[in-house]
């Protein structure tokens, strides 16, 4: 039987759910409203509407992945989707529906859950067929193979594809090579979309993004204060969505980040910490988990612990020189390869993990490192000895877990909490609620 689903049906579902949520948020009493979240949700909703418009009206749009310099797409007025962004966004709004459904796939369950979700979404036609695909081949084998899977799938097979080849190192030569890849990507995008690349438009976007990353940097500075003004993972999750998953350079996104900075600033000035009697300052040495909202509050309430920094939030994005097309592409190449979370830590040799861990522990007054041991991060699983050495040399305890950052069932949350509690107890920390 022919599958008649186009994939746009699911986007309508996302859109309608979000509309309802935003409507409900707006109806809350003024003092209970959260303008930051409302703002983020509105931008996601707009992206969904754009996807529907493109899919239904034959306007060009592409499937891409974070770290592929989305600034370029936006500057060329090409809408983009990430195959897993909406699915993850709605994970906890649908009682893990897709997470459970993905179990039915024939792919092995030791492949990264996130990567499996990407294959699941295409296999089950939960995304419309894009005009083109820009593949990311880093930081892991799963990512590379997922994009080959797309080519051999029924739904997306035959879609024109451009793959960005990542170098392994982080030298000027490496960035120049990747800038060349971005240049070739632009030529590909012009061909498939009919849209012309305009350096002035790119400059405008990059300048706005520079501002967003500068604000993010300021926000991170504020998280260094003891007590930390905001709770676990609170900047990293929305900021990554705003900068890498949604159309780039939107001044409204800049304002949302600024809103967080101002709030943190005010709390620092008032000496207010997100966790009363903050006793444990954690570095979560990976991306924020999808279950951040379940583990974060528990850490705070049970142990007076705050995840002060994680690798998703620790993004030492540098400013891009906007003087010429060449400088911008070079800067975007450096950002894509060396600054975007996960790619930064996972792509090349182990030095970056050592450097980041050392700097965060020192700069953020970290007294405990938790490595979640995400089952998809096989390269990091081969870096455990280096992490132990760093923690030992800085006299900070390291807890090594095994979890899936995207599927809380992999190691049940209660088990994770139990392991963390046993570790804290062994290190002499006392529960705060007893």
């Amino acid at each position: 039987m022919t599958n008649t689903k186009t994939g746009v049906e699911r986007i309508y579902e996302y859109r309608d759910r979000l509309k309802g949520i935003i409507e409900a948020m707006k109806q809350a009493p003024e003092e209970q409203r959260n303008p930051f979240l409302e703002g983020v949700f509105t931008l996601v909703l707009e992206a969904n509407e754009k996807t529907i418009d493109c899919a239904e009206n034959k306007k060009p749009f592409i499937s891409s992945w974070y770290g592929n310099s989305p600034e370029i797409y936006t500057s060329m007025d090409i809408h983009f989707i990430n195959p897993v962004f909406d699915l993850l966004f709605h994970e906890y709004l649908t009682d893990l529906y897709d997470v459970k459904e993905a179990d039915k796939m024939s792919l092995p369950d030791d492949i990264c859950s996130l990567i499996r979700f990407g294959a699941y979404a295409v296999e089950n036609r939960l995304l419309p067929r894009p005009t083109a695909i820009v593949s990311m081949l880093e930081p892991c084998d799963g990512e590379l193979m997922l994009h080959q899977y797309f080519q051999s799938s029924d739904h997306w097979g035959g879609v024109p594809i451009f793959a960005l080849d990542p170098p392994y190192g982080a030298t000027e030569e490496d960035f120049k090579y990747f800038a060349g890849e971005l240049k070739r990507m632009i030529a590909f995008l012009e061909e498939i979309s009919g849209h012309q690349f305009d350096v002035e438009k790119l400059r405008k976007i990059v300048e706005e993004m520079n501002l967003q990353y500068e604000l993010w940097g300021e926000y991170n500075e504020l998280r260094r204060v003891t007590p930390c003004p905001h709770g676990s993972f609170s900047g990293s999750v929305p900021f990554w969505a705003l900068t890498q998953h949604l159309p780039s350079g939107d001044p409204r996104a800049t304002e949302l980040i600024r809103m967080m900075v101002k709030d943190a600033e005010a709390k620092v000035e008032a000496g207010i910490g997100a966790v009363p009697n903050e006793q444990i300052r954690i570095l979560w040495a990976d991306l924020a988990p999808q279950w951040a909202d379940l583990i974060g509050p528990w850490l705070e309430q049970e142990w007076g612990a705050n995840v002060v920094m994680d690798y998703q939030g620790y993004t030492p994005y540098s400013q891009i020189d906007t003087s010429t097309e060449k400088t911008m592409l070079f800067g975007l190449a450096r950002r894509s390869l060396h600054e975007v979370p996960m790619i930064r830590q996972g792509r090349g040799t182990v030095e970056v993990i050592i450097e980041d861990m050392t700097r965060i522990i020192k700069d953020y007054n970290i007294n405990c490192v938790i490595w979640p041991g995400h089952m998809g991060h096989k390269d990091v699983a081969g870096s455990i000895n280096f992490m132990q050495e760093v923690c030992r040399s800085l006299n900070v305890p390291l807890l090594s877990l095994t979890t899936s950052l995207f599927d809380e069932r992999y190691t049940p949350l209660n088990r994770v909490k139990q392991q963390i509690s046993e570790f804290f107890e062994a290190k002499g920390w006392k529960r705060v609620n007893r």
Partner: protein, 381 residues
């Protein structure tokens, strides 16, 4: 095999069963140096041209990964963990250098960890682009040029164009002989098993090539006139760096015969020769990166891979296809899945298997293969 007079197979078995094998020992006793490498995108010819012995590293004989656990958690494949245990045990101390490339997320961390050990070897890391393309071929060529310079400097040798051409010729001869070996398996009654073939293929990566070629010639002469038994079913095996003849013995113990493959130690390594004219380093780069049947890890090659698998299956009159994957391998996790649609369209029966490097699930493998072969027999009948 019992009827053969040549002791070639005995030699092959012997060199494959241990790491510091007698052929390597003899080479070292004569003052020769040995370069170990992981895996198929490191041109052996470059090492041979420097007067060194190329030696493909394996985890054979590993006692497990008790010590390696400190470096690699259980989320890393057992091939890497078991091999690293041997590294920690000093079993590769006979090597004079090691070359690693970014083959996969597991292997690439062997480089970082090995480098961190005290008294380590000379270690080189070669970067293989992740996609197929003109600019990427140039990048790979540059990598080979740097590797050549580094080997020259470190071992105080000059790798001239002439030496490279000689090495290419020598390795081409090896590939031609190995292709003859494979051609014998196209017969209705193949004179050797899949496990024996894999043993011969591995031997070619862990002993001096000239001697290997001489032995293989001798072995082929005898095989030419040997008649095997007609197998109940003819199988093709798909996989990556499968280097355990025991695995094929398990499969073949159930009544089928592995007559061909799509593996790193198999058809992928011998399908074509390196051109012997023109710039030899460029020829090597093009051969390894572009001409050979590719590894799934190279983006943009899936159609080429699938077409090659179909062709080989047809050439060897295959009845069924088995793919094997080491647990935790993402590359072969996807490849096993992706080829299934293509094989279904070709009406080729297909079985997916998973295992650990130490083949700890041998019984389960046997059961699954047995059921598959029974089905194939019914279809063939």
């Amino acid at each position: 095999m019992d009827t053969l007079k040549s002791n070639a197979m005995e030699t092959f078995k012997q060199v494959v069963s241990t790491l510091h094998n007698p052929e390597v020992q003899e080479w070292k006793q004569q003052g020769g140096k040995v370069i170990g490498y992981f895996y198929s995108y490191i041109p052996e010819e470059l090492i041979t041209a420097a007067g060194l012995l190329p030696y493909k590293i394996r985890g054979v004989g590993s006692p497990g990964a008790a010590k390696a656990d400190k470096y690699f958690t259980h989320n890393v494949c057992t091939l890497v963990r078991d091999t690293f245990e041997l590294i920690l045990d000093g079993k590769f101390d006979f090597l004079d250098g090691v070359i690693v490339f970014n083959a996969c997320d597991h292997i690439r961390r062997i480089y970082d960890n090995w480098k961190s050990l005290e008294n380590n070897h000379y270690l080189n890391f070669l970067v293989l682009p992740k996609k197929y393309g003109k600019e990427q071929l140039e990048r790979y060529f540059e990598e080979l040029s740097s590797l050549k310079e580094e080997i020259e400097k470190l071992f105080n040798v000059e790798i001239t164009g002439e030496k490279l051409k000689e090495a290419i010729k020598l390795h081409n001869e090896k590939r031609q002989l190995q292709r003859k070996l494979y051609d014998l398996r196209k017969r209705e009654n193949p004179p050797l098993t899949g496990a024996e073939t894999l043993t011969v293929m591995i031997a070619g990566e862990v002993m001096p090539v000239a001697k290997y070629n001489a032995l293989l010639k001798e072995f082929l002469e005898e095989l030419e006139v040997k008649e095997g038994q007609k197998p109940a079913v003819r199988l093709m095996l798909l996989g990556g760096e499968i280097d355990k003849p025991e695995l094929l013995e398990i499969i073949e113990s159930q009544g089928g015969l592995v007559v061909t493959d799509y593996m790193a130690y198999g058809t992928r390594a011998i399908a074509y020769d390196v051109p012997e004219d023109g710039d030899p380093l460029k020829a090597l780069a093009k051969y390894y990166f572009e001409d050979r049947p590719p590894c799934p890890r190279l983006h943009g090659t899936y159609q080429k891979r699938f077409d090659y698998i179909k062709k080989v299956a047809k050439d060897y009159h295959v009845d069924g296809i088995i793919s094997i994957r080491l647990l935790l391998c993402d590359i072969w996790g996807f490849e096993q899945n992706d080829v299934s649609g293509m094989l279904k369209a070709e009406k080729l029966p297909y079985l997916k298997l998973e295992t650990e490097y130490a083949l700890t699930n041998a019984g389960q493998l046997q059961t699954r293969v047995q059921a598959f072969i029974e089905t194939l027999k019914e279809v063939c009948a």
